[in-house]
Structures are given as structure tokens and as C-alpha cells.
Symmetry: C2
Subunit: 314 residues, 2 copies
């Protein structure tokens, strides 16, 4: 029965799909145009004059994304960093953000100071401004950051552009992000993305938040090609429990990107300090994700990453 | 002792002031410029080319801004409308918004559908797009909308531009917004603001969210002029308990604006269906808000409007 269904049974992707169907017919005001709407890391909007802009938001909630014991400064850093990562994933440059903060009245001012310091430190390291926000009373701490980004001449890069024959790459090393604390201290990869775009023609890009396996499914669905990853190539972080952790832990905030075979040979092995690793290829038309085991056998790769509402994942 | 202070004792304005001091030294990336940062209804950002854009956000929380009994559609409408009102207050036109939604997994899908309908209806009525967002698990429902706005040739209008001798006006009728349900069903006044700006030179403008008395203080502090309001002129909504309700109830989402005496004579008494009323003037340099009683006596006007954290208001 429809009326009895809950968010848990529908799941995050069901929610987004439902919203997309209801909201995509709306058109923007002020003479603007939507170049890319709901469903990517950020929306792409184009004014009458000037360059396109990117717009995205990400919410972090106490008890879900952080606990009462997480240092306030880490919460602030993460709230900005996850948004800057969304801009990076589109091939954009962070410009400015606004922050909505819900707080219980009993929150120590000290906590707010630490949180604000975290926001400011991340913003400074990304060379972006914090230009406004909203503070409201809430039963538990919740922060939402919305970010405006600029697009360079080679952007924006959507997640839907992967083509048959493309090679797949990731930045950094994956897995163990929650255990190691990296999930709240990472450096968004927008500078790496900019370097990449200056040299190469990237077809599709996204950031890794739900776990490589789940995010491969997201790119595959958007691009309608089957992505095959070789287990032996996946760069595993020292804090991760092997390839499985690298595939499923989530919260990596590294980049996953696809480009043609000729350009693939020109991808550098490092972008600054950051390693770049080829992990697989787009092997067939149609949606699918496959894992090639070290023994050469190939199996479908389950998406089981982070389920926001406890729903079953594909 | 500093470490023992809470958000309740510091209050919303203390929080904003603290954040402003910590965050204003940050500069934006991508060749952009901050024309107006923290402290107004929206930030004003200017790209290398093209028109300036407005950026703002507003959060609504279950148990604070709405209850479990508030129709989901009204929650969705309000979440977009309060943001469009911020854009209106800057003399801007809504372009597009992103929505972050925190939900308990037990939330009925029916509720999400109603909420999304409310978002879409308000967005359509404001001629703006909804282009993305984030859905996360949360202990109670919380929605944050961030909005991008365009600025016409006559904008943006800040709240800090009121000058000595300016006349003060409000749109609509004030008070009783929560009781009447108007707080979640109002029409953002951006069309009215655009009409006004086409004809007249508005010096300062803001929207009324915290109650006329509190918002007069906000404009006075920003403009550094003393604002005097005549009680007999304040337009009282039929649902309000007299002038006191119109001054302090809050959640009106009407416009308060200031312009010079010559332009004041040319302000129309209606903008479309919406009444426009002269309520007072900027009478002295320096921060202050005064109420002129019907008997001609003048007293300082207390700000006691909506205290977000239960703090004492000036």
C-alpha cells in the first residue's frame, strides 16, 4: 500500500528519482538556463552573460555524520570540504558558500567557535569565501552548506559522459576513511581536477562519497555503460581492510574519472602529492558494474555501500 | 567563564557577529569578488564577467518552524518561500535553489511527496528551478534551501543604505502570521520589489522575518540611523492582536524599505494586490528605534521579537 511506505523502504535513490520526476519541469528565472539539473554532484546554471556557475549542497547531522565526541573543528572542516569536493567533481573551482546551522540552545559557545574555525580553515585552504547563512534552534546539531562554484573553460564534467572503451581512474587511496578520521580531514581534490582538465579531455567525473562500488553504479547508470574494475588495481588505504574496504567503506572524497584510451596513456601517476591509479574500463554498453578478481574471473559487483536510510542497496 | 557559555546566552545575533568576525577575511576563488557578505538577507557575488548573483539559505526544523501536524505541502512551500523572500529583499529575482532534506527513516513516503509538491508549487509560482540537493538520515525532519538569485540593473539593495530623512514603508499587513497559517503560505514579494525598483530609487530594503520591531533594529544597526515608527500607521493584519502583534509576532515575510522624501511621494498605495504603507522615517543619526504613540509621545521600541535560542533580545 502506497500510504504505508516509508523513506527506509523507498531509499535515497528512490527519493531522488521521485523528486527528479516532480521537479525537472521547473524553469529558472532571471533569464537563466539549467544546463545540468538534479542527479549530478552539482547543478550547472548559465546566466544571460558570463560563465556558467555550479550549485550544490550537503547536510551533516549529529548522530549520523558525526557524534558529540567529534571535534567541532572537524565537523566544520567536513561541512565545507564535502561541498568543495562536489565542485571538484564537476571540474569546477570553489567560489563561496553559505552555511545553515541548527543548534540546541545548550550548545557550548566553545563548540560553535571550533565549528566556525573548521569552516574557515577549510574555506581558506580551498581559497573560497563564506558569505552568509542561517542559525536556528534544533533538537540536535545539524549543518548544511551550499556552495557556488565557477567552471573553467574545460568544464563542467558530468558523471554521464563515460563511453565504451574509456579507462577508469581514481585519485588517492580508498577505504578506512571513517576509522582513520580522514573523512573529516580530507583535502578536496579541486586543484588536482583542474590540473587534469588542463592537460586531458575527461569524459566523466564524480567524487567518491558512497563507496567506490556504489559510485561506480552511479556513474554506470548515468553513462549507460558497464564498468569493469580490476581488484588488483584498486588503491587500498593503509587503514582499510583490503580491497573490500576500499570498495565499500565510503566517505573517501577522492575523484573517479573516465577518459579515452589515448588520453589514458597521458594521465600522470601523481597530481602533486596525490597518486592517480587506473582501475578499469568501460567494457560494454548498458548499465552494470563488474569486478575482475586476481584469478581472472569476473563477477557482478554489488553496490552495498552506505545506505542513508537503512534501505537495501542494489 | 567563556567555556561555560551556551548558544542561549550568546543568542543568534551574537553568533552571527562572532562568525562574521571570523569569516570575513576569506576571499572567493575563481576570480570572483564578494560585493556584500555576511549580515544581509543574501550575499552579493560578482564573477569576472556577467551580472552579480545573490546567494542565501534558510533552514526549517521540525518542532521549531513546523510540527508533525503541519501539512507537508506547507513545509515545502515555506522552505522555498522564505528563501525567495530573501532574494526579494535584495531587489533580486529568484533563479534556482538546492534543497537538503534530513529525514527519519520512518517518514512516510506520502510526507515526502507532499513536501516535494510544496517545493515545486512555490518554485513554479516564483518562476524558479529546483536543481539539486541532498537527502540524509536525521532524528527529526529538517530542510535547508539555498537559493541563487539574479540582480536587476537597479539592484542589489542592502539593508545598510537608509539615510537621515528617509521615509519607511512596508508591504502587506503585519502580525498573526503563525495563527493564520500565512507564515507557510505567503507569496514572496519579489515581483512587488521589482516594480518598485523600476520606478523609484530605494535606499535600503529587507524582509520582515523576526517581527517589525526586531527588523527595524536590524536596519537601524546596519544603516546607523534612528528609525521612528508611528503606531497609528502600522498596517495590522486581521489575525493580529493589534499593533503589538504587528510589531512583534514575526514571520511576516513582507518588505521593509526606505527611500528619500521626494521618491516617497511617488510610492504607489498598492503594488498589484499588495498594499504599501508609509510607517515612519529615519529621524536622527545613530542606532535606535522609536515608537510614536497615538497621543504623540515617543518611546524607545523594544526589539522583543522571535528569539531563536530563547536568548534575551535588546
Amino acid at each position: 500500500m502506497m500510504a504505508g511506505r516509508t523513506v527506509r523502504t523507498l531509499g535515497e535513490f528512490g527519493l531522488i528519482e521521485q523528486a527528479r520526476r516532480r521537479l525537472t519541469r521547473l524553469s529558472p528565472g532571471g533569464g537563466w538556463r539549467v544546463r545540468l539539473g538534479i542527479g549530478d554532484d552539482a547543478a550547472v546554471l548559465q546566466g544571460r552573460r558570463g560563465e556558467p556557475v555550479l550549485l550544490a549542497c550537503d547536510m551533516v547531522v549529529e548522530g549520523v555524520h558525526f557524534t558529540a565526541r567529534t571535534p567541532a573543528r572537524a565537523v566544520g572542516w567536513k561541512a565545507v570540504a564535502v561541498n568543495a569536493s562536489d565542485i571538484a567533481a564537476m571540474g569546477g573551482v570553489p567560489v563561496a558558500a553559505v552555511v545553515s546551522l541548527g543548534l540546541p540552545p545548550t550548545t557550548p559557545v566553545q563548540w560553535v567557535r571550533g565549528f566556525t574555525d573548521g569552516l574557515a580553515r577549510c574555506a581558506r585552504s580551498c581559497h573560497m569565501a563564506l558569505v552568509g547563512g542561517d542559525t536556528v534552534r534544533a533538537p540536535q546539531r545539524v549543518a548544511d552548506v551550499a556552495i557556488l562554484g565557477a567552471v573553467g573553460p574545460r568544464g563542467p564534467i558530468a558523471r554521464r559522459g563515460a563511453r565504451l572503451g574509456d579507462r577508469l581512474f581514481v585519485t588517492g587511496r580508498l577505504g578506512g576513511s571513517m576509522r582513520s578520521g580522514r573523512h573529516a580531514a580530507f583535502t578536496p581534490r579541486w586543484r588536482e581536477a583542474q590540473r587534469l582538465l588542463r592537460r586531458l579531455r575527461v569524459h566523466a567525473m564524480m567524487d567518491l562519497s558512497d563507496g567506490l562500488a556504489q559510485d561506480l553504479w552511479n556513474m554506470s547508470r548515468a553513462s549507460r555503460v558497464t564498468l569493469r574494475v580490476r581488484a588488483a588495481l584498486v588503491p587500498v588505504a593503509p587503514e582499510a581492510l583490503g580491497v573490500s574496504g576500499a570498495l565499500h567503506d565510503g566517505e573517501d572524497y577522492e575523484l573517479l574519472f573516465a577518459l579515452g584510451p589515448a588520453d589514458a596513456r597521458r594521465v600522470p601517476r601523481r597530481l602533486g602529492e596525490c597518486p592517480v591509479t587506473e582501475i578499469g574500463a568501460a567494457v560494454r554498453r548498458g548499465v552494470g558494474v563488474e569486478l575482475e578478481y586476481p584469478d581472472g574471473s569476473v563477477s557482478p559487483l554489488s553496490a552495498r555501500g552506505f545506505a542513508h536510510f537503512g534501505e537495501a542497496l542494489a
